[in-house]
Symmetry: C2
Subunit: 493 residues, 2 copies
């Protein structure tokens, strides 16, 4: 076929392509942004996988399809996808959306460049630096370093690698052979990426030592100190404490100042996984939750969560000013990071990364930040806290809602106790029955598509709901709806 075509004619027809893109854009706005955020429409259109596969006709074939059919496919993908911006999507640590961020994402996708050298990404090399500076300032650092990573898990793993490198730079070339066993300290309520990281980095999940938490889910510094001593006495070498600002399930903030004291004492790298909670730093009212953050060595913070910057947007922030990130990760590939370029090659930041191709994740955050200012982002954070306060008060006024504890952040964890179980706490099968309530309600809400919220067990606590309210698209009405809907779906259980 190739030879039939004139080589002087590109394969792509721009007029046809731009028409398609414009039509697709209209469908996207209508289906996802208009209907998908309208409470008169469903959050999800549940289908069993076999049926969905049939409806979508996913198979990839030899020949292409006409434009009208492709536009229908765009519509179908939108239709059967979950509307994560819908005001009744309370299921995850992402929800809602921001139009400025979204415009930034379209621009990023269209420019399609790679954040490794100044020559291909002049704007974004400078912009990432500025956004990182802005985030670091909120942590309380006037200097430092950082990088955007493909998610908070990756940011946490980077921190682990940096901490190891600082202590044992020879591990980069020689590996862990001949080194003593290394140990990481974190709480059982920390994110699972700490364990995944330990496994991946060759440290091993068993060498992630779990420090006790109090009832609210906060790491206990005294236990940290003891566990460090114990671990040392067993011949292992502690090198990292990974504390959490905003735990995944309960939204707890570990006591940073007291943990920093322990890290100082033992000269350990202090990492804060603030993937979830970091955004409180924007708020004058709530930033005290992270008091002591400036004493850490590194902070992971995901603007793709509470700040609704859009997936993926995760920053690893470092206090370091010795170029540790580059020393730790560089391999000095000469095909990309030539040293005889005509501009300052320190602008070629790619060798700081473990990635080669690296998406531009800063533009969406930058544009949104420019649009609403630090004040606007602070307002969103503050409003989320107000919403949560309202939700909690309403729960207390109703019979069936039993909080796990007072929320510290925007996660509200609660059991819904259906009428048949109220007052039966003493029964032998109470816990067993309670454990089945959340899954049943969840199934019903998904199949009806009215809303989405997650549940989980935690330690010895049986399945409870975790509702997360922070989207800038929600209002009190949605929270009232939430409570009514849980009752409607669960009152016969």
């Amino acid at each position: 076929r190739t030879n039939e075509r004139d080589l002087n004619e590109p394969l792509t027809d721009h007029a046809e392509g731009q028409l398609f893109l414009t039509e697709a854009f209209k469908i996207i706005v209508d289906e996802v942004l208009r209907k998908g955020t309208d409470v008169k429409h469903k959050v999800c259109e549940w289908k069993e996988p076999e049926e969905l596969a049939r409806l979508l006709d996913l198979e990839l074939r030899e020949t292409g399809e006409p434009q009208q059919k492709l536009l229908q496919r765009v519509r179908d993908v939108a239709k059967y996808s979950v509307k994560t911006s819908h005001p009744r999507f309370f299921n995850q640590q992402f929800a809602g959306m921001d139009y400025y961020s979204l415009a930034g994402r379209y621009l990023t996708e269209t420019l399609n460049t790679n954040l490794f050298t100044y020559e291909v990404a002049p704007v974004f090399v400078l912009m990432e630096t500025e956004v990182l500076r802005g985030l670091r300032q909120l942590v309380g650092w006037t200097e430092g370093d950082g990088i955007f990573c493909p998610g908070g898990s990756a940011s946490n793993m980077y921190a682990m690698n940096l901490a190891r490198y600082r202590l044992f730079p020879e591990a980069k070339s020689q590996g862990l052979y001949g080194l003593p066993r290394l140990a990481v300290f974190t709480s059982p309520e920390s994110h699972y990426s700490v364990k995944k990281g330990a496994a991946f980095l060759g440290i091993g999940m068993d060498n992630v030592i779990l420090v006790k938490v109090d009832d609210g889910g906060h790491m206990i510094p005294e236990d940290l100190d003891e566990k460090i001593e114990l671990t040392k006495s067993q011949g292992a070498v502690p090198f990292l404490v990974s504390c959490t600002s905003g735990t995944t399930v309960q939204g707890a903030f570990d006591p940073l100042d007291r943990i920093a004291d322990v890290c100082d004492k033992h000269k350990l790298w202090m990492h804060i996984d603030a993937a979830w909670g970091g955004s409180v730093l924007f708020s004058k009212q709530h930033r005290h939750l992270m008091k002591g953050a400036d004493r850490a060595n590194s902070v992971a913070w995901n603007p793709h969560k509470m700040l609704v910057a859009g997936l993926q947007c995760s920053a690893l922030l470092l206090k370091d000013t010795t170029n540790l990130l580059k020393h730790c990760h560089s391999t000095r590939a000469t095909y990309l990071f030539q040293q005889d370029k005509f501009y300052d090659v320190n602008l070629d930041i790619g060798d700081k990364s473990l990635q080669c191709s690296r998406k531009v994740d800063c533009l969406k955050l930058w544009l949104m930040w420019k649009a609403v200012g630090s004040a606007g982002l602070a307002e969103r954070v503050d409003k989320a806290f107000v919403h949560v306060r309202y939700l909690v008060e309403q729960m207390k006024k109703r019979d069936g809602f039993h909080l796990l504890g007072e929320p510290e952040f925007v996660n509200v964890c609660f059991w819904f106790i259906p009428p048949s179980l109220r007052g039966k706490e003493g029964n032998a099968d109470y816990q067993e029955k309670l454990a089945k309530v959340a899954p049943t309600i969840k199934e019903r809400m998904m199949k009806q598509g009215t809303m989405m919220v997650g549940y989980q067990p935690l330690g010895n606590k049986v399945n409870f709901f975790r509702v997360i309210a922070f989207s800038p698209l929600i209002s009190q009405k949605d929270l009232d709806f939430f409570l009514n809907e849980i009752e409607r779906l669960g009152n016969d259980l």
Copy 2:
């Protein structure tokens, strides 16, 4: 401020937001897709970093900005960014664009969901499975597994972790302590991510054993066999051979069948880094370059490179049918991967990944594949080879172009010998002078913005250009322009 606002009013104004997005979309189409692909406009608008920072006014402030100003910012970001879809952008292993893929990317960004559970990504869990199946079929596997990773570097690292886990599953929990030194084999022309991975995984860069290559840059299987024996005799344990289909600089394809024989003999995991070259599998004419690929254990393939699916799109494909990916990576977080869901929890694929949040990278590829079919993708690959053939023939007809060797793929590596150096190969300072030619020409082309192409040294070969021609937006005219422009920029050197 929060309390002043009625809590019954969401912070977001949809009408205003949708208007902004629509205006931004028009600017993006005009600046990036229309002007940015038009040869009458520049590939890049070079600015010194200080000046660019001033022009962009990057600083993040307390208060937000009006819409008109923000639209100007969209225009400025587009203006000063490199136009990677421009027909004269030959600088990297990505270039060009596809309108269907781009529509898929806008849809992905707008839906903003996360590929970890069926409940939040029903369409994409099924779609990713289907796309992976399609790619695996091209490798020659009717069964298997796989996952999309944030880039080829990550895909290569996943393969390394899987290979290690297969041999030493206890490393996941216990780390590398007590294990013998592990060794990886690859060629010096393989991608630097193999070394970065070895450092990150705790294996160490020194334990990446470099196998000799022939003149064309292909790994020599006999040397591989010898190095494996040698390494074993030194007490280390070989566990992985990472060969390359389409090396980064020269575009060489390692001899897979013969390497597979060596891997079989030593029972080693055979990984193919086909991040760059994998796309030849679409072409009946060129797929022989990867003959033997089906004998590998894993293949990394980046549709974001030659298939212009857009950054990031990288698939790790596995022959494994024992759920190794999940066993190796899972930590069974109960808040996300509840086992008591009402649907088949095998659809919750997130625990196969090292990421938690994971972008949807399959939709753009799927939509493009649906649009042009396997035949259309094959045509693009075939046409790229035809273009390269043309380019090489033209180079041979001109005086100043000296090829490093006959290209095997779409990388054309050549020195431009300016008139003053022709016939001076014997001079003592010839190499030194030649080494300076490419950087000078590069500086001139960047500052004039007429085109972009990369250069690098390799082994004892001084700086040469690597021109990569595969974008579906180019035609012979662009290749002629390329040659003329190199001469124009370099003839006085």
